[in-house]
């Protein structure tokens, strides 16, 4: 299943940087080497089994923008599943940004009325920390008003912290076809093994695609932080030409296990009883693997097998 995702916004707003970090394993510092995107760069990202994201990274210089809206209108805006529009929070020409945004929106609503719309208020790291919340609230309000009659979801992002993962995680979760079934299974799994928390990560991007928690945690940004931490570590492993397979971290208060799960996911299980032998949890993870594998690839033979079981 292919899903077309448009990535748009003014030139220099950070579209290619964020795409490179999320999908091409760049670290934030390396994005300074990226040049301006010319015209449209297409990339296919295999995501979770049969879902393929067809990313259209649309260069944002004015000349291109005009073409997208005029000559290439049909080509660009047809069959779009998601539009992600990036705003530079520090932009000096908000009016012009909004003008192009509304033109794109209009074209989108004509050609793909069902498309989901996301606005990312980007480069939030340039705003002093104590003002970020307020600045974002203002922007969000404006954007919701300006997007009428379309429905828009806004995120504040920065490539320098975990907010980028949060935004993309939320976006891709909405694209996964059987996300509800996935969530049920995760919840069931967590209850059976008495875990505090179970996270499911997409393998390549380490975005959280499903989670369950039974215990409150004071850190509400922890999923994105974990994504970020593991991804950094994956990169350090790749410097040695190795990939990391599994990880166990514990202290007196908790034990966490991160393990390769299905062919497209990693799982993280957090247990609050560190006296429980690791092997017990690892066996449970191994046993759950098959069920999730079937859930992800309902089309292949595994499905037949599955249905037989219930007959």
């Amino acid at each position: 299943m292919k899903k077309k995702v448009l990535l748009m916004g003014k030139s220099g707003s950070g579209k290619t940087s964020m795409r490179s970090i999320i999908f091409a394993n760049y670290i934030a510092r390396d994005t300074t080497r990226l040049g301006a995107t010319i015209d449209v760069e297409h990339s296919h990202v295999k995501f979770l089994g049969n879902l393929v994201l067809n990313l259209w990274d649309c260069g944002g210089q004015e000349g291109f923008m005009k073409q997208y809206i005029a000559q290439q209108r049909d080509n660009i805006f047809r069959n779009v599943e998601v539009l992600i529009y990036v705003f530079d929070v520090e932009s000096q020409e908000m009016e012009r940004d909004v003008h192009y945004y509304q033109s794109c929106l209009e074209a989108l609503l004509q050609n793909s009325p069902e498309a989901l719309i996301f606005c990312l208020v980007h480069k939030m790291d340039l705003v002093p920390e104590e003002q970020r919340e307020e600045v974002f609230k203002d922007r969000e309000e404006d954007l919701i008003r300006l997007s009428k009659p379309g429905n828009v979801t806004c995120f504040r992002t920065s490539i320098w912290d975990e907010t980028l993962y949060k935004a993309w995680s939320s976006i891709v979760t909405m694209l996964i076809p059987n996300v509800a079934a996935l969530e049920d299974s995760v919840t069931h799994f967590a209850n059976v093994i008495e875990a505090d928390e179970v996270l499911l990560f997409e393998k390549a991007t380490f975005l959280v695609i499903s989670y369950f928690q039974s215990k409150k945690n004071r850190d509400s940004h922890r999923f994105e932080k974990v994504s970020n931490i593991i991804k950094q570590f994956k990169l350090s492993c790749s410097k040695l030409g190795a990939k990391f397979q599994s990880m166990e971290v514990r202290n007196s208060a908790f034990a966490a296990f991160i393990d390769t799960f299905t062919s497209n996911t990693y799982v993280m299980v957090v247990m609050s009883d560190p006296t429980l032998p690791s092997e017990a949890t690892l066996v449970n993870i191994r046993n759950a693997r098959k069920h999730f594998e079937e859930l992800e690839n309902p089309n292949n033979s595994a499905m037949n097998h599955h249905s037989h079981k219930y007959h």
């Binding site: 320098w160 514990r250 208060a253």
Partner: protein, 376 residues
């Protein structure tokens, strides 16, 4: 002044040096830290303005990301940063801005250099370093007069982005000129060490590791313990880490591969970051801390807590981990041995037998002999 009763070096800066802004806020001191600090290596960090001292300190001891150091303001007052409570290493930074005449007779160098183990002088490799070299020469001469046991370490800093050739060239040049300066002053016997460093990679941690290792009298014992522990447990390489700074205090005698060291550093980051999320920041590293990472090239990274400050990170082949019981048992023997090595030192200090290092070595060797028996 409120600090009159503490003999802290900071007191010794007379007001007339123009430090109007210098006040107690800049000097977060702990008067009672002398007891434990005696047994820890003490390092002074010096260098010209903007040579990168604060950045080094932030990156190594406060986990600041290197990019953020761009926003650090230049240090306008004398900053003394104590890492006493969290780190195995005691570490102080002295910023010496241009207007201080270092050779000023009222400047009480006895207090500053007296108790310090190593003096790290930071030189900005991307800058014209003539002034830095002059300053360095004066500092060395002065410090050597006060304390002949002090180790002099030069960090040729900010070498990221410089080609390997010019790195070597500036190291050679700085080495040559500073040695010439010292022999002119008749101090040929002083040994200088040079390190090429950058905060954008692990070279700064590596350099600090080497500096700190020279200051640990127990180092041979620690290395010996590691050398016994490793082959008996089927481990290929092990580092004894100071967790907060990711400096390695000791390693076994096999050669250190920079990349392996970096991976171990990153492992510590992962462990501490995940632990602070799922327990709390204060208790992230506790007596139950351990971690196991499997890589797809048949390698295992295994981390265990040694004491409040130290962790052991081992690298081994996957098939050797089948006997985890043996490894864990040997590790416990190793950990007990280490704590005895340090306890002895502490006890001895308390008895104020300051010069009895020989005795300490003797004790640890006996003890260490016992351990050898247990490990095998």
């Amino acid at each position: 002044m409120s600090y009159d009763d503490d003999d802290y070096p900071a007191d010794t800066f007379p007001k007339d040096f123009g430090y109007g802004t210098y006040n107690q806020d800049g000097l977060e001191m702990e008067p009672n830290s002398t007891g434990s600090s005696e047994t820890k290596p003490r390092i002074l960090l010096m260098g010209l303005r903007r040579s990168g001292k604060s950045s080094i300190q932030k990156v190594v001891f406060h986990k600041m990301s290197p990019n953020e150091t761009l926003f650090l303001e230049s240090t306008s007052k004398i900053v003394k940063d104590d890492i006493n409570n969290s780190s195995f290493v005691q570490f102080q930074i002295w910023d010496f801005p241009g207007q201080i005449d270092f050779i000023e007779p009222t400047f009480d160098s006895d207090m500053i250099f007296g108790g310090c183990g190593a003096l790290v002088f930071v030189i900005d490799a991307k800058d014209d370093y003539n002034e830095a070299l002059t300053k360095f020469k004066n500092t060395v001469i002065k410090a050597y007069k006060v304390n002949q046991r002090i180790k002099f370490e030069v960090f040729i800093h900010k070498v990221d982005g410089i080609s390997d050739d010019s790195k070597m060239e500036s190291q050679r040049d700085i080495h040559q000129r500073s040695s010439d300066d010292l022999s002119e002053a008749g101090l040929n016997q002083i040994h200088l060490s040079f390190h090429l460093t950058s905060i954008y990679d692990h070279s700064i941690f590596e350099a600090f590791s080497k500096v700190v290792q020279k200051l640990i009298p127990q180092l041979p014992t620690l290395e010996n313990l590691l050398n016994i522990f490793i082959p008996n447990s089927g481990i290929e390489k092990a580092f004894l880490f100071d967790v907060v700074s990711k400096i390695y205090i000791a390693t076994d005698s096999s050669p250190v591969d920079m990349q392996t060291y970096e991976l171990c550093c990153d492992m510590i980051d992962v462990v501490i970051d995940l632990s602070s999320i799922y327990s709390s920041e204060e208790t992230a590293f506790d007596s139950g801390s351990s971690s196991l990472i499997k890589l797809n090239n048949n390698t295992i990274l295994y981390l265990r807590e040694v004491n409040k400050f130290l962790a052991l990170v081992c690298i081994l082949r996957e098939e050797n981990f089948n006997r985890q019981g043996v490894i864990d048992y040997n590790f416990i023997c190793f950990r007990d041995a280490i704590s005895e090595v340090f306890e002895l030192r502490l006890r001895q200090k308390q008895l104020e037998n300051n010069e009895d290092e020989d005795l300490a070595d003797e004790h640890t060797l006996i003890r260490h002999g016992n351990d050898a028996a247990v490990v095998t």
